[in-house]
Assembly symmetry: C2
Homo-oligomer: 74 residues x 2
């Protein structure tokens, strides 16, 4: 069974962040969010909303489409 959307989203964010070799702290700072929030997102514990999805994508320098490509296919 496919993982739930929060888990898949978190895994995608973690993978993309690590590929860019940036820390949770760095990503959080770029997003204007707290490091523990980013940690929770990556662990699939947060039902992230549109505005924060956009902040995360922008901070990873990718489009929403490319972010969800990773979510769908990751």
């Amino acid at each position: 069974m496919q993982n739930d959307i929060m888990t898949r989203f978190g895994q995608a964010v973690r993978k993309l962040r690590r590929e860019q070799e940036i820390s949770q702290e760095e990503l959080a700072e770029r997003c204007g969010l707290h490091r523990t929030y980013i940690s929770d997102v990556e662990l699939g514990k947060r039902n992230v909303s549109l505005e924060n999805i956009e902040r995360i994508a922008a901070s990873l320098n990718i489009s929403l489409v490319n972010l969800f490509m990773e979510v769908d296919n990751g």
Copy 2:
């Protein structure tokens, strides 16, 4: 200036729903959400979360990638 993400997401949902010729009531029922919630989403008034984004995409029979392609390019 580009519209905010909530507005763009709502416009994409409305466009895709209309292309499929289904009503807000029908989409809401498929999503297991209230019609007024779908109406608010389409008007850009809701900071929709991952779980509801997935419900809406599934109810429109499209992938998350294709939904956000409409959001990004719409």
